[in-house]
Symmetry: C2
Subunit: 195 residues, 2 copies
Amino acid sequence: MRQFVVVGHDAPTSPEFPLDDLPSAAGRLDVLCRCVNSALFLSHGIRESRIHLVLADEYTVTFDGASARQLHPDERTTAARIRAALDAREDAIGHMPAEPSPGVELRQLGFEATLDRVGGTPVQLHEDGEPLFEAVPPTNPTFVLSDHSDFTPAERELLADRADSRFRVGPERLHADHSITVAHNWLDTDGYTDY
Amino acid sequence: MRQFVVVGHDAPTSPEFPLDDLPSAAGRLDVLCRCVNSALFLSHGIRESRIHLVLADEYTVTFDGASARQLHPDERTTAARIRAALDAREDAIGHMPAEPSPGVELRQLGFEATLDRVGGTPVQLHEDGEPLFEAVPPTNPTFVLSDHSDFTPAERELLADRADSRFRVGPERLHADHSITVAHNWLDTDGYTDY
């Protein structure tokens, strides 16, 4: 399975944010919403992937493409789902997640604990990494990305310890959601010579 | 230069649409907004590409990455720019565009006339095309895509006549905005063995 962990440094940790101002009043939640779109949507279909949004190192909201229902690709609707998850945050106790709707779960976990829980083969997408299209895809990759800000020194240290591979999507630096699209396409086309 | 033409079949042709309901009341304008994002945004930069949004075969709104100012990646802000362009639609007379802000222009042109005006080498992204990553990139490609709906028979006929190449982005069918990201990445990485 393909998984994505996206660190939202300024993301909200309570549901009191306006859906009309995601970039500013909701701490660039628009970036995370677009990442959900890139991770899960095909044209006329949903990928069986999972994406985990780490909100300010306090909560993690997971969207599971295999079991989530009524997902919509637009930012506002996805932000409303994240808000509903934060609204149910008191139901997340210890290892028990809140599950405001099927396939959407909120856990009281920060970045490190989320990496531990998610498993798979952690892969960092980073400008200093190996060119993606020359690399062999790992089994069950867990791509780890940052929102509009770079990883903090502590996050970088953690990733240096955990991530087996570091790949670069191309010579240009891309937004997190675009990097997810490229990573999916890399895995989609790998091994295909006649797709 | 890289250009993109995206056909918005149900897109609005007047500014009376709500920014709070892009998917439904604004005829899937969310798709076109994400296409603008994919066509123009780099992490911490703007690409010198152009994207032309054909609105219901009546108007075409062009965003020029080289000259547009204060672009934001979120759907709502882009939709507001399209609304401002439609609000100025009476200034578009004959071949003269309305230019509500630098680098954003609205013309009274449908799909065929836009293809004529835009030039470049028309390239169709289509599921029956040649695999993208095996192809040689054309000079000055103009990628032509459709929104959430397929091209109509008339549009398909026009494209069969005009587009020199037809490429497939991979074995999965992708949304238009994701296809734009893959096309950019293809051009970014082409010829690079050590990016």
